[in-house]
């Protein structure tokens, strides 16, 4: 497991608040975020807050940048998120980041979130990061 990614998760207050864990980093960065009551977005449906799901997707993408960009977290320029299914409370969220392109100035990363099965994703993000130069 990449020690820089583990260190980032351990030292970043934002990541610690989410309780996100690194599952693997090869070939793609994959994370697991356990359910917590303070993630509730809709108390009637007991569902995850959409913005928290976005945060976890962005965090997984940031870890991918750390992996491919010489252990340097790149600034996020833009995120486009499609919500595909309700993200149910009491269930953890899995996220996996795919490197689409690693350019000299821009990193393009897609991240997918699921709960029960990867074949039933709950959200998908297209992220654009700037490389520090």
């Amino acid at each position: 497991m990449d020690k820089h990614l583990l260190q980032f998760l351990d030292e970043t207050p934002y990541a610690k608040n989410y309780g996100t864990e690194l599952v693997r980093c090869e070939p793609d960065v994959e994370c697991l975020t356990p359910w917590a009551e303070h993630f509730t977005g809709n108390p009637l449906l007991q569902a995850w807050h959409g913005g928290v799901v976005v945060g976890v997707l962005e965090l997984t993408g940031a870890l991918q940048t750390l992996k491919v960009s010489a252990d340097e977290v790149c600034p996020l320029l833009s995120a486009n998120i499609n919500f595909l299914r309700p993200t149910k409370g009491d269930l953890a969220v899995h996220t996996r980041a795919y490197l689409v392109r690693s350019g000299r100035q821009i990193l393009n990363i897609d991240v997918i979130a699921w709960q029960i099965s990867l074949q039933e994703p709950t959200a998908a993000a297209t992220l654009t990061f700037a490389r520090r130069s």
């Binding site: 970043t12 809709n42 807050h49 976005v54 945060g55 320029l77």
Partner: protein
Amino acid sequence: MDALQLEKVYELFSAGIGAHSDMSLKFVSTEENRVVLEMPFQEKHATAHENGSLHPGALFLAAALDSACGFVVLQSLAVPQAIATINLRIDHIHSAPVGTDVRIQAECYQQINGFAYVSAFASSLDGRKMLCNAQGIFKIGSPGPALDRSLLYRRGD
């Protein structure tokens, strides 16, 4: 949505949703189809430690922007209905300065064919520094109970 219904949605927004309590989101003002919220700085929002100091990045703003967008859609509905976020696009422009609170403004600028279109932005409290800009699409009348119905039910307890 009349004043009483709006008050009930406020109540649910402020206290009934764990993510909102966690972010300590506060209402500043509301107008027709527009809402202004503030989020106080909290150390847990910081995205990195660099050289021993906190560096709050833009990541933590996504939840506050989504909340503001959702609330302005609920507020703009003539009849309370369940809503669901379909798409959210966020441009991260500046990182939030260390220790400073953030203001979020959202406007529902169009509703048509069961969809609501929202624009929002996060800025410094004085509005001079734009931190994030967002565009959202929400489905109106999505499966699931409308939020304010539970409050009506609670009142009868």
